[in-house]
């Protein structure tokens, strides 16, 4: 039982990060139907920037706030410089642009930062909490708490604010939203800013556990993508559930089956979902969204 609990803790911690990456995918997908493969780079920028600002002498909270702000700026720049000019191009073209952007960002990070691995100090110490014989890192609570706050804040934003409603309207029907007077270009930009912010927050929270480096984003993007697919592309609840499930499946797979195939778990999930459940767990039934 202690063993199961340990795998579970390990799974939900990593899963919470996948969930946040998946949320980023979801927001941009809803606003533009684009799958932004530079999502993992936002996570990396959040982590790396706060590491470097911290070592430059800034206090941790300020370093984190600045790192998130910089990631948001990068997200907006990505939209303005790469996605906007290609407006009207097919979705596949836009997706390929984001892949190019992710390679560019990775290359820039190598130059701006360096090629070493880095870490941040854990926010509230490193003494593990023991529950039922299993150890849970205090930082994992930060990650889980952070994911929860992000999910709640997004829920509030999308259902209670005008801007959030405008984004949902755009997601439902871009043309109709435009006719109703919604500035869909601003919505698109906001979606990139929001995704970048969520990615950066995830990056900051998880760096004390997983470490970070200029190329840390690629694998996270793939896992987050698997999570988003599992949850149903476009569903925020699905992204969270998908992320946690992928994380738990990985940890259980590594613990009970064989650690050799840990990374394969996420990709087997993508394949199974695409074969048998193409709309994911929480995907709508409507055909036109696919």
């Amino acid at each position: 039982m202690a063993e199961f609990l340990q795998f579970f803790f390990s799974g939900i911690t990593v899963g919470a990060v996948y969930a946040m990456v998946a949320l980023g995918f979801t927001i941009i997908y809803n606003a533009s139907e684009v799958i932004n493969f530079a999502q993992g780079e936002f996570v990396m920028i959040g982590g790396m920037t706060s590491v470097f600002l911290l070592s430059a002498g800034l206090p941790l909270p300020l370093a984190i706030a600045l790192a998130v702000a910089i990631a948001v700026a990068v997200g907006i720049a990505l939209n303005v410089l790469a996605i906007e000019p290609a407006r009207g191009a097919s979705v596949v073209t836009l997706i390929i642009i984001t892949i190019g952007a992710s390679i560019l960002l990775r290359g820039l990070a190598q130059i701006v930062f360096d090629r070493q691995f880095h870490t941040l100090p854990a926010f509230s110490g490193e003494t593990p909490i023991t529950i039922g014989g299993a150890a849970l890192q205090p930082q994992a609570l930060w990650v889980l708490g952070g994911a929860l706050v992000v999910v709640l804040a997004l829920g509030w934003f999308f259902t209670r604010t005008l801007m959030g409603k405008a984004m949902r309207a755009t997601a439902h029907n871009r043309l109709a939203a435009q006719l109703a007077g919604i500035n869909v270009r601003f919505v698109l930009m906001l979606s990139f800013a929001l995704s970048a912010a969520i990615g950066a927050v995830a990056g900051v929270l998880v760096t004390p556990i997983t470490l970070t480096s200029y190329d840390a984003g690629a694998m996270l993007a793939l896992k987050g993508f698997a999570a988003a697919i599992l949850g149903g592309m476009g569903s925020a609840a699905g992204a969270v559930a998908g992320g946690l499930l992928v994380g738990i499946a990985e940890a259980m797979g590594a613990g009970y089956i064989s650690s050799d195939y840990k990374d394969a778990v996420a990709f087997v999930i993508i394949l199974l979902v695409l074969f048998f459940l193409p709309r994911g767990l929480f995907g709508g039934k409507s055909v036109e969204r696919v």
């Binding site: 340990q6 795998f7 190598q110 090629r115 691995f117 150890a135 613990g255 650690s259 990374d263």
Partner: protein
């Protein structure tokens, strides 16, 4: 054969005697530079190997040139970045051999990159000194291939020797699935029996894995684990070390020489306390006794590297240092860069004191190091200390 090498040698003597006017010498201007080719993993997952290696080669080639070069000829360094990709390494090695027409190749940060290039240099007859770890590079011996770092098999032996001394007989292993981890795991499993050690738990993790708690939980729950060994390099061992401490596993943890750089301590933090690993003397340069034969060379290299690059020295750069100076030494003894003569001269290297230890090559041994080259280190108070 009769004319040119003699003239080269003559020019070398003249230049050595009058280095100040050498730059203006006609003979000097006519001589082609000696071309040293290199492919390194300067970027990518193995960049922590390629980065100090490149910096070391650049820095010492410049210094050698400033001192008048080798055999009166300047050195020209041609470096390509294979980004840790064996395919790229092969492409660049082909370019080094065919287009750049190098006299010798020093490089191959990773075992994968090195092994991809071995058939090329064997066919083209270009001496090649590899900077990668695995024993397969020099066992079986390839005529044109040498290497400077200790092998993973030696690391296993050194670790098991230490375990034996601590009465440890059954261990758990958690290995990275990258080239280094896979190879070292196999070597360790092979030699464990020689030291009366049984591996009772055998787990792995992927090179980009960010959480090894499940694997370590399985090791913890295995009966009779008296120590844990983690072959691997990169960020993996740092995460293993942290997870190990978080799970409160109460047995000694051994890392491999793959993590022997200051960044490991920095990344693993307090969790690194008490971790043991075999490593070259370079890491504890200043702590070596004054009469240690290696002290001079490691202290010099450490000081010069840290002065120039303002970053802590790592053993990996040391491998490049050794390779470069073995090559230079061989060129001087051969008096030429003609491939066969240079290869033979490298093979005849004896008593060469490098950062990895004393190198004695022979036709049967293209590694030339023995176990004494390794020191068993323990991390105490956030720094390396000599454990034996």
């Amino acid at each position: 054969m009769s004319q040119k090498p003699l003239r080269v040698l003559g020019a070398g003597v003249v230049l050595g005697a009058a280095a100040a006017v050498a730059a203006g010498s006609a003979a000097y201007a006519q001589e082609d530079p000696i071309r040293i080719g290199s492919f390194l993993s300067i970027t990518g997952p193995a960049s922590f190997l390629g980065d100090p290696e490149q910096k070391t080669l650049e820095m010492y080639v410049d210094r050698i040139n400033a001192d008048g070069g080798v055999l009166g000829r300047q050195l020209e360094l041609v470096v390509y970045d294979d980004a840790g990709d064996a395919n790229e390494a092969r492409t660049f090695a082909t370019r080094l051999i065919d287009d750049d027409e190098v006299d010798i190749i020093i490089g191959g940060s990773t075992t994968g990159a090195t092994m991809a290039v071995v058939p090329l240099v064997e066919e083209a007859h270009i001496p090649f000194i590899s900077l990668a770890g695995a024993v397969v590079i020099i066992d079986p011996v390839n005529a044109w291939v040498f290497k400077t770092p200790h092998t993973d098999r030696m690391a296993c032996q050194k670790i098991f020797e230490d375990m034996q001394a601590r009465d440890i007989s059954s261990i758990g292993m958690i290995s990275g699935t990258g080239g280094f981890g896979t190879s070292m795991r196999e070597q360790c499993l092979e030699v464990a029996g020689d030291y009366g050690i049984t591996v009772v738990a055998d787990e792995t993790y992927g090179p980009r894995d960010s959480d090894m708690t499940p694997q370590l939980t399985n090791i913890r729950n295995t009966d009779g684990v008296e120590a844990v060994l983690n072959p691997g390099f990169g960020q993996g061992p740092a995460i293993v070390t942290r997870n190990f401490a978080q799970l409160g596993i109460d047995v000694p943890l051994y890392q491999s020489h793959g993590v022997a750089s200051a960044s490991f301590i920095e990344l693993a933090g307090d969790a690194a306390e008490g971790v043991r690993l075999p490593a070259a003397a370079l890491l504890v340069a200043e702590d070596l006794p004054a009469d240690d034969p290696q002290r001079d060379v490691v202290v010099t290299y450490k000081t010069e590297f840290e002065e120039q690059w303002d970053q802590p020295v790592s053993t990996f750069g040391g491998h490049a240092y050794d390779a470069l100076f073995i090559a230079v030494d061989a060129m001087e003894r051969a008096g030429t860069t003609q491939p066969e003569a240079l290869r033979d001269a490298i093979e005849q290297t004896t008593g060469f004191m490098g950062t990895a230890g004393e190198v004695n090559f022979s036709p049967e041994d293209h590694l030339g190091l023995d176990l004494s080259a390794f020191r068993m280190l323990e991390i105490r108070g956030g720094t390396w200390t000599i454990a034996d």
